[in-house]
């Protein structure tokens, strides 16, 4: 009998600075599927005035040797300027934005609003029977908030995926 072997895995946050050209996102996402790497989260937006450069934040997991390969394979793409493994580099800030729709009346509605205050989630849309809360924070904080809302009339969740940056004054 034959079994498929598994290796111990790590979770890493990478930022990738790229030329903002057609097909670049497909190139990067496709690299992950083609080589069997995992994407837990991927965000992208242009970061320069002339819209020529984008920054992509990718959260991935895999064995350490695979993380190193992901780094090298990303660098190999011509439109990629720079790849930074923030997890490898050290302390960094990782934030995500979520929109959370909760519907309910009475006690549940009051409780939802109270918990939202605790989490510093802001209502951005209000009807007599619903809220949409906007919150930013570390992904696990959003997880906790969403979990609490489940019993209080959670309708819909939208999350951006994380954006991350190394701590300290220097550019990573």
């Amino acid at each position: 009998m034959m079994h498929i072997h598994q290796e111990a895995e790590e979770r890493h946050v990478l930022t990738v600075t790229v030329d903002n050209e057609a097909g670049i996102l497909a190139k990067i996402a496709g690299l992950f599927t083609a080589r069997g790497y995992n994407i837990d989260s991927l965000t992208v937006a242009d970061i320069t005035d002339n819209h020529e450069v984008s920054r992509i934040t990718i959260v991935t997991h895999g064995p350490p040797s695979q993380i190193d390969q992901i780094h090298a394979q990303l660098e190999r793409l011509v439109p990629v300027h720079k790849v930074v493994d923030l997890t490898e580099l050290g302390p960094h800030v990782a934030r995500e934005l979520a929109l959370v729709k909760v519907a309910g009346v009475g006690d549940k509605r009051v409780e939802a609003l109270r918990i939202a205050e605790v989490f510093r989630a802001r209502p951005v849309d209000t009807t007599t029977e619903s809220f949409i809360f906007e919150m930013t924070g570390a992904p696990d904080k959003i997880d906790s908030f969403v979990a609490l809302m489940r019993d209080l009339g959670l309708v819909e969740v939208g999350r951006t995926g994380i954006v991350a940056m190394a701590r300290g004054p220097e550019e990573a």
Partner: protein, 588 residues
């Protein structure tokens, strides 16, 4: 106006025209291609242009492999021109082949007009999407004003760093629309600048490791060939200083002369006993431009267990991909070898007498020997005779894929680079004939021979017509055993001789086929006809197919079966169980 003239802004030209001018500016001699609806403007621009020679193939796959053969044998990039849709998809295999073997290609594909992209138009395919992961880079050009810069960058990317295929998809309207053409040099984007040099610290450490090694081996690959003839020369110089034995991958054959006393032969699955044992027992492996491919390493956990490893490669992603190394050096083989030679100076390495004596005991196994047969020509013998009778002419050899390819690698020695054209990484049957055609275009005075098998040759047999049309005197030497020999061999060794669909039934009469295309056909049936048949092939001024009937059930040995280590080689005369466990079967 005067001011504009000084700047060199001349006139408006069509996209097709800009493409042709740009190719000429890049020094392109040959374009391998096939016309179609979406490239008609480009073909019209080529019409009557004497500066570019267009080689009309019979199938787009042939264009891709011909460009590969041209590139591999000349060191220049190969250029391909095909139409949209099926034209582009037909060339994908060749692009994937060039990607794995690091061959510089620039592939131009026509595309439906910009406004029709995404509408499932006639002969529309998402060429950029399909080729994304088998090209080094690709482009869809939507404005003729971008063409000159894109083509300039495409050639730069294809030929520098780790070479590879670059595809440029050009919609038909972009070929027709016009833009300003400037005769001056193109403004180049400065975004691709691969690292070529090792750091001083890395070089010093490498030299120290080599000087301290008691059992070193150079393990060289296609990167040495890609780094140009200078890298080959520098490898020989560094070897002379250190005295370490040298083995090579399939792709690296020719970088080191096969008649050198320290040459071990090819390593890996069908490598020599001495090469694989030396790798297994070495205390230091110096990998130069190779990538620890699965065909080379065998079972990974038993690969070179007692050695430190230095890995020189221009592609950082090749390092630590499969085998972890103590000292990675990212750089061009020629540059790094030169740095190492300078650092070595007049140093003396360890006394390698004992190590070389051990190597000699492995050589005594004579792992490439094979039993002769009274009734049939042994395929290995046919290759040896082909070498003996052609060696004065320093021929260029291409191959298809399978047993004949491995026998050629084992029994046809090479002494210089760019003479050996084979599909290593992708293993593409049908590569050899078009590759030989491309090589003959680039080397009109050379003897170019495709060593083929009866199954492989049929995969791009239509290219016989291309050689006829351009009077290219390529030779095709078929080792005909009426089997897909390597498949048959694996079925014998792994599946208890259940020969599922590996028999080459209904073979054509290759002699008559040759004649139908205006080639000469020669059949060799017995050993007594072998030399005369080969000689007749060499003497004929035009293209020739030799149908050499060889022993049908010969296996290619030595062989490291899948899942085995370098010390578990099968040699001729060994008993083979004829089956394997599932773990081994699951390996390719």
């Amino acid at each position: 106006m005067e001011f504009e003239k000084e700047l060199g802004v001349s006139e408006e030209r069509s996209g097709a025209n800009i493409l042709v001018e740009s190719l000429v500016r890049q020094g392109v001699e040959f374009v391998f291609g096939y016309p179609g609806g979406a490239v008609l403007p480009i073909y019209d621009a080529l019409f009557g242009d004497e500066r570019l020679r267009h080689i009309l193939v019979r199938h787009e796959a042939g264009a891709g492999h011909a460009a590969e053969g041209y590139a591999r044998s000349t060191g220049k990039p190969g250029v391909v021109l095909v139409t949209s849709g099926p034209g582009a998809t037909n060339v994908i295999t060749a692009i994937a082949d060039a990607f794995l073997d690091s061959i510089p290609l620039v592939v131009i594909t026509g595309q439906v007009p910009t406004a029709l992209i995404g509408s499932d138009g006639f002969q529309e395919a998402d060429t950029v999407g399909i080729s994304r992961h088998c090209t080094k880079h690709n482009y869809l050009v939507k404005d003729p004003a971008e063409l000159a810069a894109v083509i300039d960058e495409a050639f730069q990317i294809a030929t520098t760093g780790r070479p590879g295929p670059v595809l440029i998809d050009i919609p038909k309207d972009v070929q027709i629309a016009s833009a300003a053409w400037n005769d001056g040099p193109t403004q180049r984007r400065q975004r691709y600048a691969p690292r070529t040099q090792g750091t001083a610290g890395e070089i010093a450490q490498a030299v120290e490791m080599i000087a301290a090694a008691k059992a070193p081996v150079f393990y060289t690959g296609g990167g040495v060939i890609n780094a140009g003839p200078r890298a080959t020369q520098l490898l020989r110089e560094l070897q002379a200083k250190t005295g370490a034995p040298v083995t090579s991958t399939l792709m690296g054959l020719g970088a080191f002369p096969a008649d050198h006393a320290d040459w071990l032969g090819m390593l890996g699955m069908h490598g020599t006993y001495e090469a694989n044992l030396a790798m297994n027992q070495a205390d230091l492996i110096v990998c130069v431009g190779a990538r620890f491919d699965d065909r080379v390493t065998g079972r990974l956990d038993a690969f070179a267990p007692n050695s430190k490893k230095i890995h020189i490669d221009i592609d950082r992603s090749s390092i630590n991909k499969i085998v972890r190394v103590e000292l990675p050096i990212v750089g061009d083989c020629a540059v790094v070898l030169e740095q190492m030679l300078a650092e070595w100076g007049s140093r003396k390495g360890q006394d390698l007498t004992e190590w070389k004596a051990r190597v000699d005991t492995w050589r005594e196994k004579k792992s490439l020997s094979f039993p002769l047969n009274d009734d049939a020509i042994m395929p290995q013998l046919a290759i040896q005779r082909l070498f003996e009778l052609t060696k004065d002419k320093d021929p260029i050899i291409s191959t298809e894929v399978g047993q004949h390819q491995m026998w050629a690698a084992q029994h046809f020695p090479f002494f210089s680079p760019n003479k050996w054209l084979t599909s290593g990484g992708l293993g593409t049957m049908g590569y050899g004939l078009p590759a030989a055609i491309g090589a003959q275009c680039g080397n009109p005075d050379s003897l170019v021979i495709d060593i083929a098998g009866d199954a492989s040759i049929q995969m791009n047999i239509q290219e016989l017509g291309t050689a006829t049309q351009y009077r290219l005197p390529v030779k095709v030497f078929i080792l005909n055993n009426e089997w897909m020999g390597m498949v048959r061999q694996w079925q014998e060794l792994t599946y208890e001789s259940r020969f599922s669909n590996s028999y080459s039934d209904s073979l054509p009469d290759f002699v008559k086929l040759a004649e139908a295309y205006g080639w000469k056909g020669i059949r060799i049936e017995t050993e007594s006809e072998l030399d005369a048949g080969i000689q007749a092939m060499i003497d004929h001024p035009g293209p020739v197919i030799v149908d050499c009937l060889v022993h049908k059930e010969s296996n290619c040995f030595p062989m490291i079966p899948s899942g085995a280590s370098h010390v578990d080689m099968i040699l001729y005369g060994d008993n083979v169980a004829g089956t394997m466990d599932d773990e081994a079967k699951a390996l390719v």
